[in-house]
Symmetry: C2
Subunit: 288 residues, 2 copies
Amino acid sequence: MANTFLAVDWGTTNRRVYRIENGRVTRTERDGRGVTAVTDFAAEVEGIRAAFGDLPMLLAGMVGANIGWRPAPYVAAPAGVGDLARSLLRIDDRTAIVPGVSTLAGGRPDVMRGEEVQLLGAVAAGLAPPDALLVQPGTHCKWARMEGGRLTGFTTAMTGELFALLRSHSLLAPQLSGAVGVTAAFLAGVEEARRRDLAASLFGIRAARMLGTRDDADAAAYASGLLIGSDVTARLADSPPDTVHILSGPELGDLYVAAIHANGHAASLIDSHAAFLAGIIAIESHCP
Amino acid sequence: MANTFLAVDWGTTNRRVYRIENGRVTRTERDGRGVTAVTDFAAEVEGIRAAFGDLPMLLAGMVGANIGWRPAPYVAAPAGVGDLARSLLRIDDRTAIVPGVSTLAGGRPDVMRGEEVQLLGAVAAGLAPPDALLVQPGTHCKWARMEGGRLTGFTTAMTGELFALLRSHSLLAPQLSGAVGVTAAFLAGVEEARRRDLAASLFGIRAARMLGTRDDADAAAYASGLLIGSDVTARLADSPPDTVHILSGPELGDLYVAAIHANGHAASLIDSHAAFLAGIIAIESHCP
């Protein structure tokens, strides 16, 4: 629609602002003004325009949640770029929030807010094919099925949050201070996860300490393998061999690559930053 | 061995002392002097003898852990009453600690300490048949297979601890303050657990709030059903119909009964207090 606009990827704890001119980023800045740090969103937006230019603005992410500026709707999957563009929450005639996406597939409700821009952008930019399985690892890991370039279904797993809970607050916490990487212990956890019996496999970490069968220095990597492996196995156990496209930085991305390989599938890492940009540009260009 | 002795069920936070004469309890008392509240165990034992009689004493539970008085060994399963009696940790000629039990079956290490007395006692007292599957719900839920009256294998699941973690520290915590009982929401959680995809099913609790598909008043019961159901499904999914004998008070016991029924198996509640007594008397009678 506009040749030049501002895009804000506005999450819970961080925010990134882009000035985009004819499809290219001419200025970007990241700060800690996530939605939990902000009360007066109108003033924030005014400040962004003062710094980046008095331009139309498209906001995405938790800014549209009930803890954000105003609750933007969820568009029901299947959803493409055009569906999101048609359902923007308009704050005023130059400011809008991208909607989230919801699904009730198979009787399990699921929602996303912010991830949809990256997912659709990955396909729009040609970083993933129009029919593909994508994953965004993290606190709440999103697995998304794309068909014909549209988001047709997805599943969120609390993988990262469970790991953080165990590491900070559980009986296992004193054992889980070690490093996590693609090690033999990590892969042993991925293998154990194939039992699909997480609560019992986790107790095995404690029992291994009691019986001296694993060094505690390896316990965090094993626990990470167990959680990521549970996520990967649940998603891929019944699927024919496929390539999973991972939207992630290398640290977490490499763990998912290893777990996906161990489950007999291929994996490829995608630049999630580039995917977001392609997504927000595609949505903006579809705005009525 | 002795016609009259003292037995102590000495856990992490509580302790129960029994004076047993010719197989009958003539005096018992419960207090909060669990192992974490005690530093001088010798003085505690002296105090118990001063109050209950200057008698031989058999201690069971966490008193034999590394956070207790002295680490008692683990006897490898299969283990019967006689195996435990032969492996007592003798503190002096009138005071001994019952060993724990360990297993490495199927490559997953597991341990118990204290539960073995109840399990073997349930069979010794005729509360469960000599060949049976028993379960002790709780923070760390124990599932034990008895064959010919001996403990041949077992699995521990962190079911109760995961529920407590989610209720206290997770993103779901604000939703999980409601009551838990055998309700439609509990049974819906048990059904969802059959997917064996716990981390994703848990996120469904948050999504249900976002989409308004479940009242938050029901979320705790649903989460409980999900966790208990995961435990039950993992243990029983591949088993022929059987009766599960539950060592538990009625509150938690009824939840397990309902989840076991929903998975197509029968369940019966056993008095865990009576099972402990029968177990400790049987072990004492086998002491060399």
